[in-house]
Amino acid sequence: MDIPYTTKPRPDTGLYNAKVGIWLFLASEIMLFGALFSSYILLRVGADPKLVWPALAAWPSHSDGLLNVPMGAINTLVLIVSSVTVVMAWASLKMKNFNKFFMYQGITVACAILFCGIKSAEYAAKFSHYHLVLKDGTAFTGHLEPKQYFMTDRKLRQAKVEEITFLKDPQKGHAEASAEHGSGDEAHASHEPEKIKMSDIKRLTFWGPQQSTYFAIYFTMTGLHALHVVGGALVIGYLWLPGSRMWKTNPERFTNRVEVCGLFWHFVDLVWIFLFPVLYLL
């Protein structure tokens, strides 16, 4: 039994089955990410102005510098390049040039890996960056000495730690305010690690999803996007190496497969094109 139009397009729709399928799948993906972007908007406009984490706004913006914009920009570029090569790979197959396909799709896979690498580095930097609120209401961002990941005050208390060593970030806003009052030295004076007693600490937490709703939506959306990148890269990688045997037996079907996963890859790229400005720049 053969199912019609698996490879050849149906005359009245002009599409083969998998192409209809992937477009429908992408429609549902748009609803998935659309729901998350809508959640982002609702949470941001509903952010409680009274709930200000000292040293961090209720809803941080670009000027708070929480995210690494240059890294995000490089990643945007990486994905755009991969989106170009994925089309070139498909076009090469259409021109019956398998070697060029192999080269272009190799670049796509490399870009995917590079993207994940940069993203992991960004994540790792967040997981070792801390937000510290003292009982007297003052608050800082900074790092623990020696470097530690995923630490919270609850864990430290369970481990019966009595004192931490904290390296504060240079405080932009604070420095400017102080400069106006003519005592700029004070802001830079604290650029040495300090010892802080646990009994003075109200909340110490790494910049993970639990830190604030902003980081929560940041990690959820970029995490889900990263899963899509990994999934797409696995499929593209499969068609690049073992799956490419099909080029010898059924070149047309193989070309279609490359086209379909290319469509998915463009979508993944497009989501990032929205994510980057929304999370990093606004």
Binding site: M1, D2, I3, P4, Y5, R10, T13, L15, Y16, N17, A18, V20, G21, L24, F25, A27, S28, E29, M31, L32, F33, G34, A35, L36, S39, L42, L43, G46, A47, D48, K50, L51, W53, A58, R154, G208, P209, Q210, Q211, S212, T213, A216, I217, F219, T220, L224
Partner: protein, 618 residues
């Protein structure tokens, strides 16, 4: 002759040379018909289990604080003494039964039966396709669905029991009601939902692609049987409405696992302790995301049943469907409008009167296409020589019951009257009239109607009618009194059926919103009607099983003298479906065509010579 026999023998061999083993043929099958039957049987089992949960709840409502008869000891063993001390259903257990009854019935029983089973079995046959467009995806869909069901049922065995925040799982309640266990019932619920949504997503992509791409030659859009149209729109609803709930499930999982505050507002205090989270989330966000799925879901439940009933009405009135085109446009209209009515479930959340007014307007608008469809079906009966067989009994009952369900929904759509009726038994009665004697009767009708095609045998007519009349009587005995209870102000989530509330606010002391003795007494009547309804299903179950081997054999591939393509296949249809690839030459419901030899003219029957010549001249 001998030569011919040898030839056909050879052809036979060639045809069967890719004969599959038992496992590939019946278990890990990629054949849409086997997958449809797998979906159907699994969904029927889940439906029965969901029904048993409800029976246990009904016992607790009618006789609060008394041990459940027969299964009480079993409950204590399974759920432990915390939840079922001495076989008495505790309020916590009642809540988890309530939440799971809704979840199971909607996501594991009715949708899989209506969409997964009937859609899978009938749709490719009706459009003249050899199978679904993506058979392996279809198989994956079933297995992921089964996994989601098993995860849901496994949650009963977690330490504090299954999810107990209603089938809607409103946050923050859902996130904070069991803070001691991270792998609690709610977590299982969310993971189960993610799998369930994935399964229906794969199904939806497959259905739409199949209907767009694999229609037989001549099967134009306006020649599609209405059932296929209904499945087409349903698939779009599943495709586009489910992902937001998947997003919501992911966000709530983040709340439970990574201590985020997507749905947890600032300053939340649980059992006297401030919750150690960042806060700043929005409980309303969950409700928006949930009901964005939740409302289209209602139409996912009802549209396939309307499709089934339309097929059966056309077939048994021996008349074309009146207003086929209007029905198609109406079903498309419902599909579109169902995406913009969701917040009528949220009038009481204080989201603002302007938004309420918008959603009230769209809600009233969506009743128009629903009424068009129902009206077309009623007018189709007019002047027909109706065959009162078993499927037609269920189909006719569906039309009336769905009508009652739909009309009683109007007061809920107005936000002024909804304030009185919200979360009372009135709404339980309303949506059960739509889904239980509505959709489920439609599904029963479909089972009796297509059973001969699936098995080659008829189900027993006497027991079918017995099943119908008993179910019809007891369904109404259950749900009609609930309207009264709801109007009297009985809240839907009271685990003792309102006994405590009534005792605290006796009517004779002048509390206008109190529950009278008569209203409380109805609980017992309803519960016994539910037991009778359970007994009424026994003839159906036995009929379904026994008829597979003992039922009367059908002598024709088209026992109902129907016109649509599924009856043009061999019985039961083999892998690949059609012996000859059909060519469609006419619309789906050409019954009693003047001048035709029989009172039905199948879609693929060749045109008569004179019409052929007329066509060639034109």
């Amino acid at each position: 002759m001998a030569h011919q026999a040898a030839h056909s023998h050879e052809a036979h061999e060639a045809h069967h040379h890719e004969e599959l083993g038992f496992w590939r043929k019946y278990i890990f099958s990629t054949d849409h018909k086997i997958i449809g039957i797998q979906y159907g049987l699994t969904a029927l089992v889940f439906m029965l289990l969901g029904f048993f949960l409800m029976l246990a709840m009904r016992w607790q409502i009618a006789y609060p604080g008394k041990a459940v008869p027969i299964v009480g000891a079993f409950f204590q063993t399974v759920f432990g003494t915390d939840l079922a001390q001495g076989g008495i259903i505790s309020p916590d257990l009642y809540n988890s039964f309530g939440a799971m009854h809704g979840t199971i019935m909607v996501f594991l029983a009715v949708v899989p039966l209506a969409f997964g089973a009937f859609g899978n079995y009938v749709t490719p046959l009706q459009i003249g396709a050899p199978d679904m467009a993506f058979p392996r995806l279809n198989m994956a869909s079933y297995w992921i669905f089964l996994l989601s069901g098993l995860i849901m049922f496994a949650s009963f065995f977690t330490p504090a029991g299954a999810a107990k925040s209603g089938w809607t799982s409103y946050s923050p309640l859902a996130s904070v009601n069991d803070l001691n266990h991270q792998w609690n019932g709610q977590t299982f619920w969310l993971i189960g939902m993610v799998f369930n949504i994935t399964a229906s997503l794969l199904g939806a992509v497959n259905f739409i692609t199949t209907i767009i791409q694999l229609r037989a030659k001549g099967m134009t859009w306006m020649r599609l049987p209405f059932f296929t149209w209904a499945q087409f729109v349903t698939a779009f609803l599943l495709l586009l409405a489910f992902p937001p709930l998947e997003a919501a499930s992911v966000l709530q999982l983040m709340d439970n696992f990574f201590h985020t505050s997507f749905f947890l507002p600032s300053g939340l205090v649980v059992s006297g302790n401030p919750l150690d989270v960042s806060g700043g989330g929005s409980p309303l966000l969950w409700q928006h995301l949930f009901w964005f799925l939740g409302h289209p879901e209602v139409y996912v439940l009802i549209l396939p049943a309307i499709g089934i009933v339309t097929e059966i009405v056309a077939n048994n009135t021996r008349k074309p469907i009146w207003g086929y085109r209007s029905m198609v446009y109406a079903v498309l209209g419902i599909g579109f409008l169902s995406f913009i009515v969701w917040a009528h479930h949220m009038y009481l959340t204080g989201m603002g009167t302007k938004i309420s007014t918008f959603f009230q307007t769209t809600t009233m608008m969506i009743s128009i296409p629903s009424v068009i469809i129902l009206t077309c079906l009623f007018i189709s009966l007019w002047g027909g020589s109706i065959r009162f067989n078993v499927p037609m009994h269920f189909a006719l009952a569906f039309m009336v019951m769905f009508g009652i369900g739909g009309l009683t929904g109007l007061p809920l759509g107005f936000n002024a009257s909804d304030i009185q009726l919200h979360d009372t038994y009135y709404i339980i009665a309303h949506f059960h009239y739509v889904v239980a004697p509505g959709t489920i009767f439609g599904l029963f009708a479909g089972i009796y109607h297509w059973y001969p095609k699936m098995t080659g045998r008829q189900m027993n007519v006497f027991w079918g009618k017995t099943h119908f009349w008993l179910s019809f009587i007891f369904m109404n005995a259950i749900f009609a009194p609930m309207f009264l209870q709801g109007l009297a102000g009985m809240h839907r989530r009271m685990s003792d059926g309102g006994a405590t509330y009534a005792a605290a606010n006796p009517v004779n002391q002048g509390f206008p919103d109190a529950l009278s003795e008569g209203i409380i007494k109805l609980n017992e009547h309803i519960s016994w009607a539910a037991v009778c309804l359970a007994i009424a299903q026994i003839p159906f179950i036995l009929n379904l099983v026994i008829s597979m081997r003992k039922g009367e054999k059908i002598t024709s591939d088209n026992p109902w003298d129907a016109t649509t393509l599924e009856w043009a296949t061999p019985t039961p249809p083999p892998h690949g479906n059609f012996a000859v690839v059909p060519t469609v030459v006419r619309g789906p419901y050409e019954y009693s065509v003047p001048g035709a030899k029989t009172d039905f003219t199948p879609q693929n029957a060749p045109l008569s010579p004179e019409r052929e010549s007329k066509k060639s001249h034109a």
